[in-house]
């Protein structure tokens, strides 16, 4: 799913994944947003080895924009537990993301 979204963001429609409902209608993001997404995408491959559940959480929260409640339901977590994990995962990624794209995103 994440790969599909990244391919879509890079305007490469050839991905073999089925588009989540509604995604086709969205234009690909601009440069800064794309750069951040690509760097998060790279980091997630590393994260998957140590914290696979954080990785899934970032996919649904960041790549798909689910609400906290939806995300918690998807991962079968309590909402508060999910929120804490999301803060931990964001911090992990923040510490490893190059400062320029992080700033742009935070701005």
């Amino acid at each position: 799913m994440r790969r599909y979204l990244i391919e879509h963001a890079r305007q490469r429609p050839g991905a073999e994944f089925v588009a989540p409902e509604g995604i086709k209608e969205f234009p690909p993001p601009d440069g800064a947003k794309l750069a951040l997404a690509l760097s998060v995408n790279r980091l997630l491959d590393e994260l998957a080895g140590t914290h696979p559940e954080w990785c899934m959480l970032v996919e649904v929260k960041y790549f798909l924009g689910l609400t906290d409640e939806e995300a918690a339901e998807t991962l079968a977590l309590k909402v508060r537990t999910m929120q804490r994990m999301w803060r931990d995962a964001r911090r992990w990624l923040f510490e490893r993301t190059d400062s320029r794209s992080a700033e742009q995103s935070a701005g």
């Binding site: 947003k33 924009g65 689910l66 609400t67 409640e69 918690a72 309590k78 929120q83 911090r91």
Partner: protein, 893 residues
């Protein structure tokens, strides 16, 4: 510091508070909601004495400040669900959308018509993209039935292209919110007090049902108005409170759980909403009612420390209760909204309310307080403590204690609840006589503590079943025994225990000598025409086995039916006494609950009646009668879907019981769904063609359908089978419709002669006389009817139908003011009862208030309007173009 104690309590299951996600995340959110420069001092007080927790929360807050919105703007966002509905849309094949009424923080509200029950309702959806699923608390909120709580009927689901979405159907309320009202300035003393009392009463009922509101505020109170301007304050959105973990569509955390100005200090510390925090919010609303202002300046202006530690400036001393509600320490507030109402009420009324409630309940069921349904304990180790006795009862006490222990040792566990009684010798040997000792020394989870006191030659027994840890009472039961009856206490106490823990009841059947009469009696009760026969058999059965709770319960039921048919108080008193006798022998048998339910229902204690029937069903799931009566209690309490489900179940478990078809038919009949009504009532006549009541009920449906000839046939059949007052009265009414007034007088006078205590025949014969211009006779009959109706009303004060008749009679006798006040109350008590609406229209016509008539009819079911157009007594309506328009608009549909 006050309220700071929360963080020093141990949270079960969590060793270390820094690991408690709920607590840590709540505190993080609460801190982030403060201004940046206040956060550190806030955290220091909120995490007082727990440096580990402080460290952990501070870490998240610091990182939040550094990360800003990092990753909070997602790469993509799934499209929000489209759930806008259009007027005319039909949901679930049943609810027709009329218009959108409001869009609020919690969702979208539509006005709709329930086409099955033919009434106006509100439909509420969670807001688009906000939440598809309703929180589980709503399911509990549905159980609340109280005039000051917005009634939730059902939780439904509708399928949309984006998946399933929950929606609520609820009572439709027209009016402004209390917040809107307060924006126009403070309220005068009198309505403010009325609203305060009503809010306390509604909140108390919710808390009894274990439902916390969580976001109580003046914006969630709707003020509706009855025709004469009486205020009805209704709390909405129970169970819908936005919990802190809810989120906005952009993934950001929503503002705090609750609305800052109404948030209790402990909520600012991350604690969950409780009864105490609801009471704080109630205090804020009462403060607004008393002074027109909120207790603190808005949250952005007044420093949060002030709210956490101080009470606001005191209001008018007449509202002293408010001060205690706004105490920063939850433990020092009132414990329940009932207590608040009590403190606000003028003294005389306080006493009357408390006394009336205690007398009726205790007389019938022995249960002193009906608690809301609580989840039964999984493991019960009960210690029977030594009885406390006075000098008069000391000689019997030892024996009773041993007998009781023996009875309790016969009780069985259920798959849900493991039950064990701790051997009495073990209790006595260790001198266990308190909850604490019972817990410590013999490992009890619960204790049964019994006090015996002699009083005027009788013995008063009081039993407390308590949780050994907290000391909280699980059940309180009392009964008065004659000395000869005291031997029944052992089985009765076992009944109290089975009732509390929902264990199987002790087996009980009448002895062989009573067996035959008992069975004959029970089977005769199943037919209205068998009641006299049942009375004879069951009196013999009681004579043969006076120790059996079952013979007494069955006799009580027969006596009740006798009362129902004759309306003679003597039978009601006898039924109450027999029911009490049954309860003294064992309060927890299905027939005992069924008769207690009937008696409570008959006095307007619908919620308690529901509790009795529910237990009866639990003990004997095959009893159609229990389901049917459960349905009647729900119906009277305006819980229509529950009623319908119960009636349907009654027929499913006992399809040969004609009375259940009658109940279901009458249900539809009252909701003016005559097609369904006739279907079920015909089935009833098929099953019991020799029962006059069956023909009577079918005739009534025909009458309201305007099928006068069919109605006359059925009523004549009923009169032919048995000349009862009710059948004669209805036949008279058909003749009134047919304008055969002189003939009507014949039957109606015979009805009054047969049953001089019923008010309906008097009321209708008065109409016939008036139409024949016999004014003196007419007035006399009306006065008699009024007198009798008042008597009936004092016995069943929550019955809107009786009150509507009372209103009509007042109007006819020229007491316009009282008529108006009674009709308003009647409509409020029974808003979905078509009969009450019919009478309201007739009353306003008698008062010459055409506008009010039309207003009442605009919300009435079609059948009521059609029926009035046929009633010769209000023939003038048929000349009013507005009425004709109304009639036509309904006929088209």
């Amino acid at each position: 510091m006050p309220g700071g104690g929360y963080l020093n309590e141990r949270i079960p299951g969590v060793q270390n508070k820094a690991q408690d996600d709920d607590l840590v995340m709540s505190l993080v959110e609460l801190a982030l909601a403060r201004r940046r420069d206040e956060r550190e001092s806030y955290l220091r007080s909120a995490c007082a004495q727990d440096s580990q927790l402080l460290e952990e929360v501070r870490k998240y807050v610091d990182w939040d400040e550094r990360m800003g919105g990092f990753l909070l703007d997602p790469l993509y966002r799934l499209p929000p669900d489209q759930q806008a509905f259009e007027p005319g849309d039909l949901l679930d094949g049943r609810f027709r959308i009329v218009r959108e009424v409001a869009q609020g923080g919690m969702g979208v509200v539509y006005e709709a018509v329930d086409e099955k029950l033919n009434c106006r309702i509100a439909v509420k959806f969670a807001k688009t993209g906000f939440r598809k699923r309703l929180p589980p608390e709503v399911r509990h909120a549905r159980e609340i039935a109280h005039p000051n709580v917005c009634k939730i009927f059902e939780i439904n689901t509708v399928s949309t292209p984006h998946g399933e979405i929950d929606f609520l159907t609820m009572e439709f309320l027209e009016g402004e919110t209390l917040a809107e009202r307060l924006r126009h300035g403070p309220l005068p003393e009198e309505p403010a007090r009325t609203i305060a009392q009503q809010l306390c009463s509604g909140l108390a009922e919710a808390h009894r049902n274990q439902v916390i509101h969580g976001d109580l505020k003046s914006n969630n109170v709707i003020l509706t108005r009855a025709a004469n301007g009486t205020i009805r304050a209704v709390i909405t959105d129970f169970g819908l409170a936005r919990r802190p973990e809810d989120t906005q569509p952009n993934g950001q955390s929503a503002p705090l759980g609750g609305t800052p100005d109404y948030m209790a200090p402990e909520l600012w510390k991350g604690q969950k909403a409780t009864v105490a925090s609801d009471l704080y919010a109630l205090g804020v609303i009462l403060y607004e009612l008393a002074s027109g202002e909120r207790p603190f300046l808005s949250s952005t202006e007044s420093p949060w420390e002030e709210r956490l530690t101080r009470k606001p400036p005191a209001v008018d001393p007449k509202w002293a209760a408010v001060d205690r509600l706004l105490d920063p320490d939850p433990a020092r507030r009132f414990h329940s909204a009932d207590e608040v109402a009590h403190a606000l009420a003028p003294r005389s009324r306080r006493w009357i309310l408390a006394a009336a409630a205690a007398v009726v309940l205790a007389a019938i069921s022995g249960i002193v307080t009906y608690q809301g349904a609580t989840a039964p304990a999984e493991t019960v180790r009960l210690a029977l403590l030594p009885f406390e006795a006075d000098r008069g009862t000391a000689p019997v006490v030892e024996r009773l204690l041993r007998d009781s222990a023996a009875q309790l040792s016969r009780l069985k566990s259920t798959p849900r609840t493991q039950f064990r009684i701790i051997p009495l010798n073990q209790v006595l040997r260790n001198h266990v006589d308190t909850n604490a000792k019972a817990r410590r020394v013999v490992g009890a989870t619960h204790t049964l503590h019994v006090t015996l006191a002699s009083q005027n030659g009788k013995i008063l027994l009081h039993a407390d079943l308590a949780d050994a840890r907290s000391g909280a009472k699980a059940k309180e039961w009392q009964a008065v025994y004659a000395p000869a009856e005291i031997r029944y206490t052992a089985a009765a106490l076992a009944g109290v225990v089975t009732l509390t823990f929902r264990l199987p009841a002790l087996a009980a059947s009448p002895n062989t000598a009573a067996q035959r009469d008992y069975l004959a009696g029970v089977s005769s009760i199943r037919r209205d025409s068998g009641i006299d026969h049942a009375l004879l058999s069951l009196e013999r059965a009681v004579g043969a086995d006076p120790d059996s709770p079952l013979t007494f319960a069955a006799l009580a039921e027969a006596q009740w039916f006798k009362y129902y048919a004759s309306r003679d108080r003597v039978w009601l008193d006898r039924a109450t006494e027999s029911a009490r006798q049954a309860g003294l022998r064992n309060p927890d048998l299905a027939p005992v609950h069924r008769i207690a339910g009937l008696l409570l229902y008959n006095s307007g204690w619908y919620e308690q009646a529901v509790a009795e029937y529910s237990r009866a069903i639990e003990l004997e799931p095959g009893s159609g009668a229990a389901y049917r009566r459960l349905g009647q209690a729900y119906e009277r309490n305006n819980q229509l879907s529950e009623a319908l489900a119960a009636y349907t179940r009654a027929i499913a478990v006992d399809p040969q019981d004609y009375r259940s078809y009658q109940a279901l038919g009458s249900f539809y009949f009252e909701r003016a769904n005559y097609g369904e009504a006739v279907k079920h009532l015909r089935k009833e006549v098929d099953l019991a063609p020799e029962e006059p009541n069956a023909h009577f009920a079918l005739g009534s449906a025909y009458l309201d359908l305007g099928r006068l000839v069919d109605a006359e046939t059925e009523f004549r059949m009923a009169v032919h089978l048995e000349e009862t007052s009710t059948a004669l009265e209805r036949l008279g009414v058909v003749l009134l419709y047919e304008e055969r007034d002189a003939e009507a007088v014949t039957y109606l006078s015979r009805a009054t002669a047969l049953s001089p205590e019923g008010y309906l025949p008097w009321m209708n014969v008065a109409t016939a006389y008036r139409r024949m211009h016999w004014k003196a006779e007419s007035d006399q009959a009306n006065r008699r009817a009024l007198e009798l109706a008042e008597k009936e009303m004092t016995q069943d004060p929550r019955n809107g139908k009786i009150r509507s008749h009372l209103a009509y009679l007042c109007a006819r006798l020229g007491n316009a003011r009282r008529a108006e006040s009674e009709i308003t109350q009647a409509l409020r008590l029974s808003p979905y009862d078509s009969n009450t609406r019919w009478m309201a229209a007739a009353t306003y016509e008698a008062l010459d208030q055409r506008d009010a008539t039309l207003a009442v009819l605009s919300g009435a079911p079609d059948g009521v309007i059609a029926d009035l157009s046929r009633w010769p007594d209000v023939a003038e309506l048929n000349h009013d173009p507005r009425f004709l328009q109304l009639l036509a608009s309904r006929a088209v549909k």
